[in-house]
């Protein structure tokens, strides 16, 4: 598998940005300065980045409540995201959406989504647009093992096949829907579900960027070639709770520590590219330093940014009313 130097550095930067963004939110949330809920994507970075490495701004994705990683992977500006999470007027959604609703349609990011199973039907529609407008773009629904049991998701698998849509259904299977294990809550297998709807099934280790990149490439190529939808089942682990403040008593002692120690996508990426001499350590170190200052700056800017004004309350309910 050939991966260009450009894709490698951009992907590493994206994964590092997500990691630092989320680790920083973990710290800042604990101070009480961030309103609402946040759901962190730490541990899952290689999935969003490995998939989005195959996309351009005109391809569409829909995300989940755990959406920061997908936003960053699709190119949404970190400063605007951080300001949004702080509820500031300068946020990407002007403080109207918050963590669970970050969107940037100009980048093909159809939104994080507060409703489990909200995205897959929307992605059928985005894929229908791509198909009828003949723009050769694809639409990707990210959703979790939890959402894989929603009727809206199962209906979407059917509709996408019936209409032969250029869509990929990416099941990010972190083993838990909130506090309930997927081994309990998901009947059968994702593979059999894909087969049941007659669509090709791909799976990969979601903590290995190279595995995700390769497999997602195959699934996306299938959809882009007009052969209909595909399912990509990504196995991964989340390192924090369902939301910040979740003590994760439903996970055995050591489960997360083992994941962090053995399946850190960034550590493994660095190790691999050094071993096979794809990228120099100095390049990676430079990216790390850049990202660190970018996140620092985003937090400082967010805290200093203006809050929404009273007039913002009534703005943008409609295009016209």
């Amino acid at each position: 598998m050939q991966i260009s130097r450009d894709i490698l550095t951009r992907s590493y930067r994206s994964m590092r940005t997500i990691r630092d963004f989320e680790e920083r939110l973990h710290v800042e949330f604990a101070t009480g300065e961030i309103p609402g809920f946040v759901h962190l994507y730490c541990g899952e970075e290689a999935s969003g980045v490995g998939v989005c490495a195959h996309l351009t701004d005109t391809d569409t994705i829909a995300s989940t409540h755990r959406g920061h990683g997908h936003c960053i992977a699709k190119g949404v500006a970190v400063e605007g995201m951080m300001a949004e999470i702080y509820g500031r007027q300068t946020g990407v959604c002007h403080g109207k959406g918050g963590s669970m609703h970050i969107a940037d349609l100009s980048l093909g990011m159809l939104g994080a989504n507060g409703i489990v199973g909200g995205g897959p039907p929307l992605i059928c529609g985005a894929a229908l647009s791509h198909k009828l407008l003949k723009d050769n773009n694809v639409a990707i629904a990210f959703y979790g093992d939890g959402a894989s049991n929603e009727g809206s998701t199962l209906e979407s698998l059917n509709l996408a096949t019936v209409w032969q849509l250029p869509a990929v259904f990416v099941v990010e299977d972190n083993g838990y829907g909130e506090a309930t294990g997927a081994s309990y809550a998901c009947a059968g297998t994702q593979k059999d579900r894909a087969a049941g709807f007659g669509m090709p099934y791909f799976e990969c280790d979601g903590t290995d960027f190279f595995a995700v990149y390769k497999t997602a490439g195959e699934a996306i190529a299938h959809a882009r070639s007009g052969k209909g939808p595909a399912m990509l089942h990504v196995h991964l682990s989340r390192w924090y709770g369902h939301f910040e403040g979740d003590a994760m008593s439903y996970r055995a002692d050591g489960e997360v520590a083992k994941q962090r120690a053995e399946h850190d996508c960034l550590v493994n990426f660095r190790k691999y590219v050094s071993e096979v001499s794809l990228l120099e350590t100095s390049v990676l170190d430079e990216i790390d330093a850049d990202v660190k200052s970018e996140i620092d700056a985003a937090v400082i800017a967010a805290k200093a940014a203006p809050l929404p004004e009273d007039a913002d309350l009534m703005r943008d309910v409609y295009v016209s009313y």
Binding site: C93, G95, A103, L122, S129, E155, L159, V319
Partner: protein
């Protein structure tokens, strides 16, 4: 100009907009019918024939039969609207919104606000509503208050074929999600409808008649009932203003308040369930904004708080009627505030 039925007026609006704009597509259960069957294509053209012939003219890519799978295709319509198409999705009976409300309420309606003004969702959802068809509790509801309650949606309840054509073209050209509700009992109603495309703006009520004594606000099919009641009352010297708000969201509150200021007496006719419906909404508006103008209590002509019954005798009992409206108007016209001693 020619006589057209409510059904034909809607079909013509869809056809003319699809000819005008290739981004306009239709989707829904059996909007054509026949796909995958052994017989003819475009077999039904909608369960009551409203979209007949459109697939034949525009093809299977633009008139899409869907599986019976409301959550997926209503959501797909929202997603397509946010990404460059202008879908008109048919929900068949509005009661089926129970299967896909999330995609309307939490997705399409919220995109623009949640995303800080960055989304446009030019989506129309057409659906049939209303009792009077012996269709019983799951196929007869008048759920426009439910949609009116949700910020981000516009809600249209046309009262005649002329209104239906102009309001539907307006809905398709509108850049916000619009719920367009067609009273199923009206599909064969006929009147003169212009052949060329035209629009009727949202949020501008139509006064179907003007009078001095009582203001009647009525929605959808009830406008026709109110006009019939007003004809009868006219003979007894009670003259009524009848307001057809056309859209429940936006609601033309100015016209309602102006008319109540003139007559001082208000009857509201709404065939939806009586709690938290449009009648309560208009009554609250008038009580709050025009209290000093009122010469009599506000009366609401609404169904009882029950599911829609099946049997004809019960359904007739359930529905607002010309007689019930007439009685309500007579009672407010005869009301006089007692002078304080």
């Amino acid at each position: 100009m020619s006589k057209k039925s409510f059904r034909q007026a809607i079909n013509e609006a869809l056809r003319q907009e699809m000819r005008r704009d290739p981004r306009v597509i239709l989707m829904g259960e059996d909007v054509a019918g026949g796909r995958g069957g052994t017989g003819v294509k475009d077999a039904w053209g909608g369960v009551l024939g409203v979209t007949k012939g459109l697939q034949t003219e525009f093809g299977e890519d633009r008139v899409l039969d869907t599986p019976i799978s409301e959550a997926s295709y209503i959501g797909a319509a929202a997603g397509a609207a946010a990404t460059g198409l202008r879908p008109v999705a048919e929900l068949m009976f509005v009661d089926f919104v129970g299967c896909c409300l999330d995609q309307i309420m939490n997705q399409a309606a919220k995109f623009r606000y949640m995303f800080g003004g960055k989304a446009r969702t030019p989506l129309v959802i057409r659906a049939m509503y209303g009792a009077g068809f012996n269709a019983a509790a799951q196929h007869s509801q008048a759920l426009y208050p439910l949609f009116t309650h949700i910020p981000g949606l516009k809600v249209v309840v046309p009262s005649s074929p002329y209104e239906a054509k102009g309001l539907l073209i307006e809905a398709i050209r509108d850049d916000d999600p619009v719920i367009f509700l067609e009273n199923k009992v009206m599909y064969d109603d006929e009147e003169d409808v212009p052949d060329e495309p035209y629009t009727i703006p949202f949020g501008e009520a139509n006064l179907t008649r003007e009078g001095d004594d009582v203001t009647i606000v009525a929605f959808g099919r009830m406008v026709n009932f109110a006009n019939q009641a007003a004809d009868r009352l006219e003979k007894d010297g009670i003259s009524c203003t009848v307001i057809d708000p056309r859209t429940t969201s936006p609601l033309d509150t100015g016209t309602i308040l102006d008319c109540v200021a003139d007559t001082g007496r208000l009857v509201i006719v709404d065939e939806s369930s009586p709690r938290c419906n449009l009648a309560t909404d208009v009554a609250a508006l008038v009580a709050e904004e025009a209290f000093d103008a009122l010469k009599a209590p506000i009366r609401r002509v609404v169904p009882p708080h029950t599911p829609v019954p099946f049997s004809t005798v019960l359904e007739n009992l359930y529905m607002p009627s010309v007689e019930k409206i007439e009685a309500a108007v007579r009672s407010v016209a005869a009301y006089h505030v007692k002078e304080e001693a």
